[in-house]
């Protein structure tokens, strides 16, 4: 509803400005980003996940109902195929967090291709960045609790190598384990959602721009809009893949923190 009018009104070469949607609140709307469509979608995602699991587990049956089956298979998928697969038997303890993370990301991403909504909150770096910060602190704290402070940083930073080569390797280990990880987690998810939204904008608005420029360009506009539909299907793939990748990498970092030196 909100998306439609802004898309039709937008200028053709889409820019970063198109990601900053106007305030929903009518008062003080000018330059106010406290409550926008993005904020609304994030809260809607949270509410939907909470409600869905509450409803699905209200009266658990031995033979699951449809909703219960869906909830159980979502949890079962993350627990068996991500948590236990990556971390091992200890992974069951992390399955609830990983499931929450997975569902939160996939649903937030999914707004990117829902007709008339079509923007993902994850195309603003704040959300992926915060999720990455949570994952970052989680694997460090898990490692410290498992090994103890000194021993954890020893196993994380000091590879099995002769002493004279260690000064060369320790900075690399520090950089790749403690600096690159949160950054790459956040940027990977953000960039995928940002680029996806940008692509859809280019093809949709490009169609309008061509048909407005010259009526004879109408066939090209139609091709452009068909491309939008095809790219929406591609986006669906990216959405699922990125949610999966984020969760798997978080699990693999936790696994690395729990691993004993070898």
């Amino acid at each position: 509803m909100i998306g439609q009018s802004t898309v039709l009104a937008a200028e053709f070469p889409p820019s970063v400005e198109d990601f900053y949607l106007p305030s929903i609140l009518p008062w003080g709307a000018h330059d106010s980003y406290w409550f926008t469509k993005i904020t609304f979608l994030v809260w809607l995602t949270v509410a939907l996940i909470i409600l869905f699991f509450l409803v699905a587990y209200r009266k658990p049956q031995l033979v699951p109902t449809k909703k219960q089956w869906l909830a159980e298979s979502a949890y079962g998928f993350v627990r068996n195929n991500i948590a236990v697969e990556m971390i091992g038997p200890k992974g069951v303890a992390f399955a609830p967090y990983l499931t929450t993370l997975f569902l939160f990301i996939i649903l937030n991403n999914f707004w990117g291709i829902v007709p008339l909504v079509q923007i993902s909150p994850n195309s603003h770096i704040a959300f992926p960045a915060f999720l990455a910060i949570i994952s970052y602190f989680m694997f460090i704290i898990v490692g410290i609790r498992h090994h103890g402070f000194v021993k954890y940083f020893k196993t994380a930073l000091i590879p099995p190598a002769p002493w004279f080569i260690l000064p060369l390797l320790i900075p690399i280990e520090f950089f790749s384990n403690f600096l690159v990880r949160p950054f790459s987690l956040a940027v990977r998810l953000f960039a995928n959602m940002f680029a996806g939204h940008m692509l859809l904008l280019v093809f949709t608005l490009g169609g309008f721009a061509m048909i407005n420029a010259n009526v004879w360009f109408a066939p090209f506009s139609i091709v452009s809009w068909l491309m939008t539909i095809a790219l929406t299907l591609l986006e669906f793939l990216v959405i699922c893949l990125q949610a999966y990748v984020f969760t798997v990498l978080t699990a693999s970092y936790v696994q690395g923190a729990l691993a004993d030196e070898h």
Partner: protein
């Protein structure tokens, strides 16, 4: 994924340190070049030790 991170990290860290040394000594980039090569060597070594059999 981890392997790629090690390679890039090696190059960036030691290349960066070399670049700083360049600035400090006043050379044009010789230390950055040496640093990048040494760093990628370290990255390869790390991959073999950490991820190899």
């Amino acid at each position: 994924m981890t392997a790629l991170t090690y390679l890039l990290a090696g190059m960036l860290v030691w290349g960066g340190i070399g670049w700083l040394v360049d600035h400090w000594v006043g050379t044009n980039g010789i230390f950055a070049g040496i640093g990048a090569v040494v760093g990628i060597g370290g990255g390869v070594y790390l991959i073999v030790r950490r991820l190899g059999a």
